[in-house]
């Protein structure tokens, strides 16, 4: 008996390919259902990722950057007296790291804003009025008045909702009063220079922008020294957010001040992170259902193909096909079906993604003005976003799932005994 058996793999591929197209309609229906299911998954993930990225981007821009350096107890218990005593030297230490980022000093105060007509609890954000990124967001939205000017030590920019509540207008006086650690209070008089309307209730009703000099008066009142330029925090807006972990580590090593902590945006915005996690989980559940549909589609097609070829498999076994050849053959059928499913899935999903990435979908009719989620908001027009990692992940999941769907039919095929099969 000769022992030289080396069957070219191409023969198995050829057989598998032709077997797949033995029932064209069935294969096309299976492929279509997988492609549509996969396409919808790609689309929904693209939109979801984009929505999340958009919310994170807005939260970072509106909030305190990718990385925040602040008092170690501020996050757990925000209070005006939990500030960074050595603001000036801290800024110097950060700038000495030469990181590619915008480094922004900020003073945040929890205060009461009062006019002769009314009082409202507000958050006052003290910023560098020339260079803080917040200027880019708020200045465009000023409906009445103008942005703050250098040397204006009393200027305030307030939201439209607050102006309504305080019954004030541009040029009006507003007293900002903050409780001190010792039980006293500190009050400063400000003047409204501009009134903005962002459409976000949290900003429009409860947010005031002022210069650093104005807000620093409250920290001085808490015991800070003018020459040390105390701050509530240093906000760092990275040029490349992928460097977040590295830069955070670098800053952690470099910053040497008491009661100071370096936090990333996930630590600063835990509610947003939780929201994204929950949203992701619900999306994963949805994707599992879609994958199940795909699995059943593949199993149906390949298993039907196996069951109706029982006699043929018996014939092949009788002719000298070994068990593992049949496993290989059926597995290759699943592999080809999986490959085509992924290809056509990407054709459908990728096309939708590219269209929505270019033109976006306007959700303004669905999201009422002023709606915020977990302290941030979503732009009304969402453009689909898929990272290379997502493309790899989706392709792998669908490919491996469809491939795994072929295991049972392949095992079933390998169990065919020629004698039983030829009797059928």
């Amino acid at each position: 008996m000769t022992n030289t058996q080396s069957v070219p793999i191409g023969v198995f591929f050829m057989l598998a390919w032709r077997n797949l197209w033995r029932h064209k309609r069935r294969t096309i229906i299976t492929l279509s259902s997988i492609a549509i299911g996969f396409g919808l998954t790609v689309f929904s993930i693209g939109m979801q990722d984009s929505g999340h990225n958009n919310m994170v981007k807005n939260a970072i821009n509106m909030g305190d950057g990718h990385i925040t350096i602040q008092h170690s107890e501020y996050l757990a218990s925000p209070a005006n007296h939990r500030f960074l005593e050595e603001g000036k030297s801290l800024l110097q230490q950060v700038e000495a790291q030469s990181i590619k980022a915008q480094v922004v000093p900020r003073i945040t105060l929890q205060t009461l804003a009062s006019t002769a007509n009314n009082s409202v609890g507000v958050a006052v954000q003290g910023i560098n009025i020339k260079s803080d990124p917040l200027r880019d967001i708020i200045e465009d939205k000023i409906q009445d008045g103008r942005w703050l000017q250098q040397g204006d030590e009393r200027g305030l920019i307030i939201g439209s909702g607050m102006a309504r509540k305080l019954k004030t207008k541009v040029g009006g006086k507003v007293v900002i009063m903050a409780g001190k650690k010792g039980g006293d209070s500190e009050a400063q008089l400000g003047r409204v220079r501009g009134i903005f309307h962002s459409g976000m209730l949290e900003l429009d009703n409860y947010f005031i922008v002022a210069g650093l000099d104005f807000t620093r008066r409250f920290l001085i009142a808490e015991g800070g020294k003018v020459e040390n330029q105390p701050l509530t925090r240093v906000a760092i807006f990275l040029d490349d957010e992928k460097q977040l972990v590295n830069i955070k580590q670098q800053l952690n090593k470099a910053i040497n001040q008491p009661n100071t902590v370096v936090l990333d945006w996930q630590q600063m915005l835990p509610q947003l992170v939780q929201y994204i996690v929950i949203d992701d989980v619900s999306a994963y559940v949805m994707q599992i259902f879609i994958l199940l549909v795909i699995v059943f589609g593949i199993v149906n097609t390949v298993l039907m193909g196996v069951l109706e070829r029982t006699r043929e498999f018996g014939l092949l076994r009788a002719l000298g096909f070994q068990k593992n050849y049949l496993v290989l053959l059926v597995f290759l059928e699943s592999l080809l079906l999986s490959g085509m499913a992924v290809f056509f899935g990407w054709l459908v999903g990728g096309s939708i993604h590219l269209y929505v990435a270019a033109y976006g979908i306007d959700f303004s009719g669905l999201i009422p003005e002023g709606t915020t989620f977990a302290g941030t908001f979503m732009d009304p027009i969402i453009y689909s976003e898929l990272s290379p990692a997502r493309v790899y992940q989706l392709t792998s999941i669908v490919f491996l799932t469809t491939l795994a769907s072929g295991i049972y039919p392949a095992i079933k095929a390998s169990r065919v005994t020629p004698i039983e099969a030829l009797r059928t």
Binding site: M1, T2, N3, T4, Q5, S6, V7, P8, V11, L15, R18, N19, R22, R311, E312, L315, L316, R317, A318, L319, G320, F321, Q322, K323, Y325, P418, I419, L422
Partner: protein, 230 residues
């Protein structure tokens, strides 16, 4: 010299509490180049015996020697290999792989044997020519008649160069004309190739051509005679 030697072959099926003796104490020798027919009524054990000889089924007891190999001692993988290199099969119907052309069907066993492309292509074309299908070699089974499909099966069985061809009622589904043509081809090839043929049949046309007729009844050989068919 005997190519096939069966010694005390029994085949017992268990059907619930009942034991069915499909074959009882079969002793048989078939020489090289013989053209022998296993005959007998339905249920006499013809197909069971062919399946055991072909290694598709196992005997309950006894020894089967083909070309000095005791196939009862071979494992599943060795049996596959044995069938591939030593045996040719022609079944009653549905013999061919539907997604392969006639030429590819004939080549298939040679592909599994690992023969080079050129050799198998030449041999496949040669045998298709012998069976008169040289003009239909690229047709798929669905485009061939039943008789043509059986001729492809004969070409496939012989192209792989087996020592023994086992044919289980190969003419059962064919009309008289096709059956006669197929038998002519097989008889001619048996002579030319010096291949041993063992048929199971109750087709009188086959019996008329056979040189030896082994009659089975109730799983036993009741008659074994050489006949002088010309």
């Amino acid at each position: 010299m005997s190519l096939l030697k069966l010694e005390h072959i029994d085949k017992i099926y268990q059907q619930g509490q009942i034991q069915v003796h499909a074959l009882s104490d079969i002793n048989l020798e078939v020489d090289e180049s013989e053209f022998a027919a296993l005959v007998g009524p339905s249920g006499s054990g013809k197909t069971t015996l062919l399946n055991i000889i072909g290694g598709l089924d196992t005997a309950s007891t006894g020894h089967i020697h083909i070309n000095s190999s005791n196939i009862a001692e071979l494992n599943e993988q060795e049996l596959s290999k044995f069938r591939l290199f030593e045996l040719g099969f022609i079944f009653q119907a549905y013999n061919l792989v539907p997604v392969l052309s006639a030429l590819e069907n004939v080549e298939l066993v040679m592909v599994l044997q690992g023969r080079p492309h050129k050799e198998r292509s030449q041999r496949a074309k040669h045998y298709l020519e012998i069976v008169g299908l040289q003009d239909m070699m690229h047709r798929r089974p669905s485009e061939l008649s039943g008789g043509q499909q059986q001729r492809v099966a004969v070409a496939r069985a012989l192209a792989a160069g087996p020592r023994l061809v086992l044919a289980d009622e190969p003419t059962a589904n064919l009309d008289s004309e096709n059956a006669s043509a197929l038998l002519d081809i097989m008889f001619k090839l048996a002579l030319e190739e010096k291949t041993t043929f063992l048929f199971s049949t109750h087709d009188p046309r086959v019996m008329e051509r056979a040189k030896r007729i082994i009659t089975l009844s109730d799983g036993k050989i009741i008659n074994d005679e050489n006949v002088n068919n010309e």
